[in-house]
Point group: C2
Chain length 354, copies 2
């Protein structure tokens, strides 16, 4: 048994080989591709509760294959819950599980296989040694959604492809066309534009009126699964900053990727979060988008307030570090592993790995 093939408690061996579980010694011979040693894959719903609907009109509809019959929607529902799926390693290298929080109009799919079929951040961070939790916010994806106007206040917002193409900084304002061949992308953008329609299949309806309830479910999730480290994206930013404020003992670090909002720093006491380090990451092309520049300026004020309270806050503009071409969907861009590497390096610097 050569020492080079003797491995101890590794979640993954990067080149060629397996594998192990806690407290084990493993010898592997032969040639093979890397594999992950997984303890458990699972999921749960967190938060929410019973809501009884009465007095709702009876539309005429029915389950598939049974014809059209009157359907009575009055009765009890569970509402307000969110969904989280987890992959636990046999031997994580990270001290805490990692929770990945998606942005607006999207679900946890954001972090899975990329629209172009390449591995997403879920695989990246599993391979880097993290237990990975991926949430679907209340009202999105597998979290389910509830009736309006009886439970939610009104109809959802549905993100049209033009908004995603232009707001997520894949193409310039005004460049979206229905015909993919006629769309103009930003010069040098690393989003795989040929797969934009595939990405658009991930988009789900969202309700502007549900913010407080979405937050409540995220806070319940933190109580359930943390201590943990959290990565948030876009609309997840505000939820993430609040998750930290509401449980500064449970959240060990926060990474905010282009957060689209934050609490008003003038209205919140940030002293309690002084021990939670934060990394804020911005991608490329913001200059062409007034709204994004405004958002970045607002978030910078929150960063300043965190620093004033004594917290570690690192701010990375990727282009300034030489990483150019990223869209708002940096976890789906062709160099997604490179961006994930920036985050992983920060985790290491913060002492979050064993």
């Amino acid at each position: 048994m050569s020492s080079s093939t003797k491995r101890h408690a590794l979640g993954i061996v990067g080149l060629g080989l397996l594998v192990a579980a806690a407290g084990s010694q493993i010898t592997v011979t032969g040639q093979q591709s890397a594999a992950l040693a997984i303890k458990e894959i699972g999921s749960m719903h967190v938060g929410g509760g019973n809501v009884s609907v009465t007095g709702a009109a009876m539309p005429t509809t029915a389950p598939a294959g049974r014809g059209s019959v009157p359907y009575d929607p009055n009765g009890d529902y569970e509402a307000g819950q969110m969904y989280v799926q987890y992959v636990k390693l046999a031997a994580p290298r990270a001290k805490y599980p990692l929770l990945l929080v998606h942005g607006g109009g999207l679900t946890g799919v954001t972090w899975e296989t990329k629209p172009d079929g390449g591995p997403g951040w879920q695989m990246f961070f599993l391979k880097a040694g993290h237990d990975v939790y991926i949430g679907d916010a209340m009202e999105r994806g597998r979290a389910s959604w509830a009736r309006y106007p009886e439970i939610y206040k009104g109809p959802p917002t549905m993100v049209i492809k033009k908004i995603a193409w232009e707001t997520f900084r894949i193409g310039p304002l005004g460049s979206y066309q229905t015909d993919p061949a006629k769309r103009t992308a930003l010069p040098g953008v690393l989003f795989p534009t040929a797969y934009f329609d595939q990405f658009a299949k991930q988009m789900v309806p969202m309700w502007g009126s549900n913010g407080p309830d979405i937050q409540k479910a995220y806070d319940a999730l933190v109580q359930k699964i943390c201590p943990c480290v959290i990565v948030v994206h876009s609309q997840g930013g505000n939820f993430g900053f609040n998750m930290v404020r509401h449980a500064p003992d449970k959240v060990k670090a926060l990474v905010a990727l282009e957060p689209s909002g934050s609490p008003d720093p003038a209205k919140v006491d940030l002293k309690p979060v002084m021990n939670v380090p934060t990394l804020v990451v911005w991608a490329d092309f913001l200059e062409g988008y007034e709204r994004w520049l405004e958002i970045r300026t607002n978030i910078s004020k929150y960063e300043d307030a965190l620093r004033a309270a004594g917290a570690v806050v690192d701010h990375v503009d990727l282009p300034k570090t030489g990483i150019k071409g990223n869209s708002h969907m940096m976890m789906m861009d062709r160099n997604s592993d490179q961006v994930a590497g920036v985050v992983q390096k920060w985790f290491e610097k913060q002492g979050l790995m064993k």
Copy 2:
């Protein structure tokens, strides 16, 4: 190196030990819990395409945190796609991947961790050596759903808890109460009734009018990921029988757990599916539910037609084999592994394992 610790190409070693990848030899020493050797975890959307909406009214709503603004829903969407998530083993023992298809008002969560926190069929079949694919039907969960009446024909059906409690044969007809303490369960039922409301959090809206489009997405999925073996539940039954009919060369076997529907055997040619073996499984307590008895009788006619066409069809009424107490949600019942074992044994009998 003792021979008892030398393992070859196993997806999992049940008692105590790991692990391996294809073509490898592994020696493990020390005590540890079982782990899975995973090659890849990922997901994709399959099917659907662009739909352009014009002339829709503009409601007043907005993303969280930005106040109430007019919102224009007109534009392009992707619609008609479904979602599938996969876990691929480093060294599967099964000859083909396994696709798990949920029932009405539900998503792929059906197969994950059970509402009581116990491991679900996903983990069972991974440990048994199958690559496992889990779908969310078009319109459900992470597949997303589309506007009505512009894209879907009308509003969804939402399953109230009373219907689930009584139709899924957890409690007798008329036994549901909002207060969990006041509900009456079927005597001896193995559904973990204390976790029924947790189960209800999994329920999602469904559209009776979408049947043909749901089928289309499932058929596209079969073309994408098969050859495979398919397990369907409840409403998934009809979709599964049709997946087999539409691709009898791609589907190597079908297991239908309490299928709620099938094609009309008088109207379809079943000769082409004669080489696809089918297992139909029914749980307990059907006698108290006229509708379920009627469904089982209808499905039996389809089974007879399959047999007449030359196909292998096995029909299992679990109580007749001594397995009593199962609800319609047999994959969530306390003895879910026992029921999965019946299916796994059938896979072995059909020569579907290496």
